[in-house]
């Protein structure tokens, strides 16, 4: 197990290094350098020259790469031009918010997907089954922003039940303890539901196929022959076997989760990584862009690693 974990970890580190290098090369290759791209033409040539020295742009590319990589490896990703703070600090503030939102969204997605697949299985190829299959396809096909806006339109504007944006209300910001928690939960409902609703279709579609396959296996027949009820056979014998490959599927869908939560964060003004990335893209804040892209990749790769290891723990066959 340790050797397996070590091998996967080494591969993950190489992956992150590759991504970091490619982002660096892309920025270096892009037309115009930071000092000329950043600002308006009224700034004098001397100022630009000074900036170029400050950013280290007067040095040759390999030297810049080595310095940047060394700093990045020790956790220094430079200073954000937009926020005037260290990129790592800016990202560090946002990461927990994204983790909270995406984590909760993922839970909604899995719970919803499993529930839909189980309902479909009760009468496979029946009318309800095909209706839910279409709903799953629609959940996959609807753009994230459309679901977000529809939820805001109904639950915030029409019904006035839930807040349409931000993490806290003004009152909630100043409150402490349970009141603050409740305020946060209230603000979490719509964005987490958006992530869940756009993701559950894929989970349901996938799980329905696996469950249908598994249900025809002999061990299910054996369980039924022992007098196990249809319901019990499905929940106790089939579902655990079907959930195993789901771990891998969710690990592989983490990049989609990150992309989806980016749109959700922008629509709901949620102060997370996606919103930072969006602001950085509009302002062309290169250090923050690179930092956010790399950190998000690290998060995705780490998530993948956890999924791989979890799979290896529950299914010893893959450790080989």
């Amino acid at each position: 197990m340790l050797r397996f974990a070590g091998r996967r970890l080494a591969a993950a580190v190489v992956l992150v290094w590759l991504v970091a290098t490619v982002t660096f090369v892309l920025v270096a290759l892009a037309p115009g350098d930071a000092a000329s791209r950043l600002t308006d033409p009224r700034i004098s040539a001397q100022t630009r020259e000074r900036w170029r020295r400050e950013f280290g742009l007067d040095r040759p590319l390999p030297a810049r790469y080595a310095a940047w990589l060394g700093a990045a490896a020790t956790g220094d990703l430079g200073t954000s031009w937009l926020h005037h703070r260290a990129v790592t600090t800016v990202l560090g503030d946002a990461l927990p918010n994204t983790a909270l939102l995406a984590g909760l969204g993922l839970m909604v997605e899995i719970a919803g997907g499993v529930a839909i697949a189980l309902v479909q299985l009760r009468r496979a190829r029946g009318r309800l089954d095909s209706a839910l299959s279409f709903a799953a396809l629609a959940s996959y096909a609807l753009p994230t922003f459309a679901v977000a806006l529809a939820l805001i339109g109904v639950f915030s504007y029409r019904l006035g039940l839930l807040p349409p944006s931000h993490m806290h209300s003004l009152a909630g910001e100043q409150a402490h303890g349970p009141a603050r928690m409740f305020d946060l939960l209230l603000h979490l409902v719509l964005p987490a539901a958006t992530i869940g609703l756009t993701g559950l279709g894929a989970v349901a579609r996938y799980l329905r196929g696996v469950l249908l396959d598994e249900r025809g296996r002999l061990y299910v027949l054996a369980a039924r022959a022992r007098g196990c009820s249809e319901q019990r056979a499905l929940l106790v014998h089939v579902l655990p076997n079907a959930l195993l490959p789901l771990i891998t599927m969710i690990g592989m869908s983490l990049p989609f989760l990150a992309s989806g939560s980016l749109v959700v964060e922008v629509v709901f003004s949620w102060p997370g990584m996606g919103q930072l990335m969006f602001g950085a893209a509009l302002a062309r804040d290169v250090p923050l862009l690179m930092g956010a892209t790399i950190l998000m990749t690290v998060a995705v790769v780490a998530g993948n690693l956890v999924a791989d290891l979890a799979y290896a723990v529950v299914d010893p066959r893959v450790r080989l």
């Binding site: 920025v27 753009p143 994230t144 459309a146 339109g153 992309s259 749109v263 690179m290 998000m296 995705v300």
Partner: protein
């Protein structure tokens, strides 16, 4: 003996998907024929935020200019035209044509006909998606063929690059690229294609690996066919079905991603419309004018559903073929 299946013999999902995508493409392409010239009915003051189905009277004057009026009636050789509550009279001789213009899908905040704009936006959304797909296929198939055929160091390096590119969340990658490049339609297509080729490469490589050792490839090599000829005439035709199926799904993904990017303001730039940017423009009026956000969103979803059905249908088709043999 295989018989070419006719249209009716194709799986239902494949037919449904083709009809859906085809209908969207026809409506988008024929928009200029089906709808009136958008400039003729553009009148921010008289026709802003009309709900679907509302209509105005379009008065075309002899000099070619137009008036978008609430009502117009003929009265003894003159036209009495009411616009914004004020009535003016125009001699009948100066009026070339009076016709009712119905805003079937409403109008936006500056009075543009939403139906005409949806058609124009569809051309961009579907066109960008299709062209980006071609870019992704060209890069991905080439990389997959080289990687699978050559093997060794080339394969190892290419596949690590694919792994790395797949690990970066698509929208982060796209925002990154959009920020460091100058925005244009061509750049958008290129960037979308660059964000999507990795899956194609991996799939093609797998197909090449499984075909490479087969006897017919060996035979082709034995009679002296070069790698290019083998790739084009022996490997690709046999790897086509999974690649086409994947391409259909990929088209849906690309349309979705383009919509998200344009919604965020970093894709198609105004005044060019795409379905995603139309939703962004309508976002402000979410509470009062639902049609501005709902209609383009539904069209994106329909296009993605169509692409998904085509992919499912191709799978049905290959499953049926496998069962028949």
């Amino acid at each position: 003996m295989s018989v070419q299946p006719g249209w009716r013999q194709l799986p239902g999902r494949l037919r449904g998907g083709i009809v859906l995508l085809g209908a969207l493409a026809v409506v988008a392409l024929c928009g200029p024929l089906l709808t009136r010239d958008p400039a003729a009915v553009l009148d921010p003051a008289a026709a802003a935020l009309l709900p679907p189905g509302a209509s105005r009277v379009l008065v075309t004057l002899a000099d070619g200019s137009t008036i978008l009026a609430d009502a117009a009636r003929q009265d003894r050789g003159e036209w009495r035209v009411t616009r914004l509550g004020a009535e003016r009279t125009i001699p009948a001789g100066r009026v070339a044509q009076v016709a009712r213009h119905r805003f079937w899908l409403g109008s936006d905040s500056v009075g543009r006909d939403v139906l005409a704009r949806l058609c124009a936006g569809g051309r961009v959304s579907l066109g960008v998606g299709a062209l980006a797909l071609i870019v992704a296929l060209l890069i991905g198939v080439a990389a997959g063929l080289v990687s699978g055929w050559r093997g060794g160091v080339v394969d190892a390096v290419l596949m690590r690059v694919v792994d790395a590119a797949l690990a970066v969340p698509t929208l982060f990658l796209l925002l990154f690229l959009a920020a460091i490049l100058r925005p244009s339609l061509a750049a958008l297509i290129l960037v979308l294609g660059l964000s999507s080729w990795m899956g194609v490469a991996r799939l093609t490589r797998g197909q090449v690996l499984s075909l490479k050792e087969r006897d017919f490839i060996l035979a082709a090599r034995a009679i002296g066919a070069g790698p290019g000829r083998i790739a084009a005439f022996h490997v690709l035709p046999n790897a086509l079905t999974p690649i086409v199926q994947d391409a259909a799904l990929r088209l849906g993904d690309l349309i979705l991603v383009e919509a998200s990017l344009s919604f965020l303001g970093l894709g198609v730039q105004p005044p060019t419309a795409s379905w995603g940017s139309m939703v962004a423009e309508g976002q402000e009026m979410l509470a009062s004018a639902w049609w501005l956000t709902a209609l383009p969103s539904v069209l994106v979803a329909l296009a993605v559903i169509g692409a998904g059905l085509v992919a499912d249908g191709i799978q049905d088709l290959s499953r049926r073929k496998a069962a028949a043999t």
